[in-house]
Amino acid sequence: MTMTVLAEKQIIESGPSLHQRLAARGFDAVTLLVIPAFALLALLFVYPFAYGLILSFEPKAGSAWSNYQRFFTDPYLYTTIWKTLLLSVPVTVLNLVVSLPVAFRVRLMYRQRLLTTILVVPITLGTVLIAEGLLNYLGPQGWFNRTLIAVGLIDHPLRLVHNYWGVFASLLINGFPFTFLLVLSYVTGIDPALEQAAATLGANARQRFTSVFLPILMPGLAITFCLSFVQAFSVFPSAVLLGEPAGQTRVISIAAYQAAFEEYDYSMASAIAMIMGIVQLAIVLGMMATRGLFYRGPVAGTKG
């Protein structure tokens, strides 16, 4: 008996081994499994970003800030921010505003799967194919213009490709399903009992939407806005193929691409990529800041 007591005393005095202490803090052989994936991302994501940031301050000529100075003094470059925002913000807002009522209808459907499957198609096909399709479809001889003329709405074909509206249409066809499916997943997450309770208390459809659903949905809508906006802001293939890449739709990604692969100025290209990232981050942070103003918490009814 004294032996065991002594042995226990020894263990207490020497404490657990390093292995045990690490395991208690969550580090053991299993934790190490995260290393390969993390190393890959560090090498292919974190390192290039850091490298690009440093490279953007090492311009071909001039002082450290001269890339950024050039960007914000050359109207051919700094107007790209405005042009990109002019495309991405209206499209994102439109997608969100339209997705909301549609999601509210679709949530009541029993067979949602067919609709969601159809809407996944344009996301899967991607922007390049949609650009090619819209070039045919919205072109002066395309079915869209033909139909409008046949119906008698217009006399001669509308110019819908190789300008702002072509890119707008492609962002709509790509972006609406994306936004809608995100909104739908938030809307279907709300317990229907909340709406029934509101209806029992005499709230009409508008009141139920504005004072029950909207406050609950706001955080989710803010996230949806951010994800959709970031997608739209980085529009590239459709702006080249469907837009006017030297004029109206010279978006910021075209400027970055041209700096890298036409002027071979990787330093300038990195600077533009960093500016692109900063604008996206600013809008996302702005949206997230407003998120704090809204209700966050459980959206399922509980038995009090």
Partner: protein, 280 residues
């Protein structure tokens, strides 16, 4: 469900469905015009082409060297699927089962490539790959495509792994299984539906991933979507029908896998990335 029978709500519901119908109609018409054009002999200034032919497919096949392009596409996609599966599932297991200092930072590094658009991180990534000589090679394209797919697999798999009772693993350990045996005999069979879903989504996303492949690929490492971009970009050099035939080949390649994928996943998963957790 609460029924509103007032006139305004009926009109509103009608308007919502008309919009959805209009959207889907345009979507199908857009796809239909590509398919129609690819079978057209001559299609100028009329509703439908003057005649039908399949010769554009054989001319596109030889003009765009589709055989080589398809081969490269499937090699790239195969490599990306295998590597992101191996790295993603193991990392997801560690992240689902262990809590450790610095986990938040690791999760941030995993989330960022999914939130930051490919073109933003693609340009610095391409710069690094060009300077190390990887760009333009097969493995350069694979490496670039892994950046969004590994985090995607991790995020899809974490909830799947969390659903598995840890006592099953404990039981396997009691019976003397080592970590490898545990993975192969206990975890893999249980996780197979999740892994299949995640990898099929990776497959579909990689076939359609334009930006990263475009920035990094060289003439011999182009995938189908990049080849399609160059064909559309140089429109006028080749017949429109030929480009459309190629677009149809691309559509079929993507949609076949999408249909297979949809047998295992919910369509919303393609967008929302991870399974929605119950709210409480």
């Amino acid at each position: 469900m609460i029924r509103d029978t007032s006139l305004s709500s009926k009109l509103w519901i009608r308007a919502v469905w008309i919009f959805v119908g209009f959207f889907i109609l345009n979507l199908f018409a857009m796809i239909g015009s590509v398919v129609t054009s690819s079978f057209a002999t001559r299609w100028l200034g009329t509703w439908f082409p003057a005649g039908w032919t399949t010769r554009w497919y054989s001319s596109a096949w030889s003009e765009f060297q589709l055989q080589d392009v398809l081969l490269v596409t499937f090699e790239v996609v195969g490599a990306v699927v295998v590597i992101s599966g191996l790295l993603g599932v193991t990392a997801a297991y560690a992240l689902a089962r262990r809590d450790f200092a610095g986990k938040k930072i690791i999760m941030l590094v995993i989330l960022l490539p999914l939130i930051v658009p490919p073109i933003t991180f693609g340009i610095p990534l391409a710069t690094v790959l060009y300077q190390t000589g990887f760009a333009g090679t097969f493995w350069g394209v694979v490496a670039a495509n892994l950046v969004p797919t590994v985090p995607f697999v991790i995020l899809v798999m974490i909830p799947f792994i969390e659903q598995i009772d840890p006592r099953l693993e404990a039981a396997a350990r009691v019976f003397g299984a080592n970590t490898f045996k545990l993975f192969v005999h206990v975890l893999m069979p249980l996780l197979l539906p999740g892994i299949l879903a995640a990898l099929l989504l990776v497959l579909v996303r990689t076939i359609a991933m334009f930006e990263l492949t475009f920035l990094v690929a060289g003439p011999t490492s182009q995938t189908l979507v990049v080849a399609l971009y160059y064909a559309v970009f140089a429109a006028g050099v080749r017949a429109v029908q030929s480009i459309d035939a190629m677009a149809v080949v691309y559509m079929v390649t993507t949609l076949v896998w999408l249909i297979i994928a949809l047998r295992f996943v919910n369509p919303t998963q393609i967008v929302t990335r991870a399974k929605q957790q119950p709210a409480h």
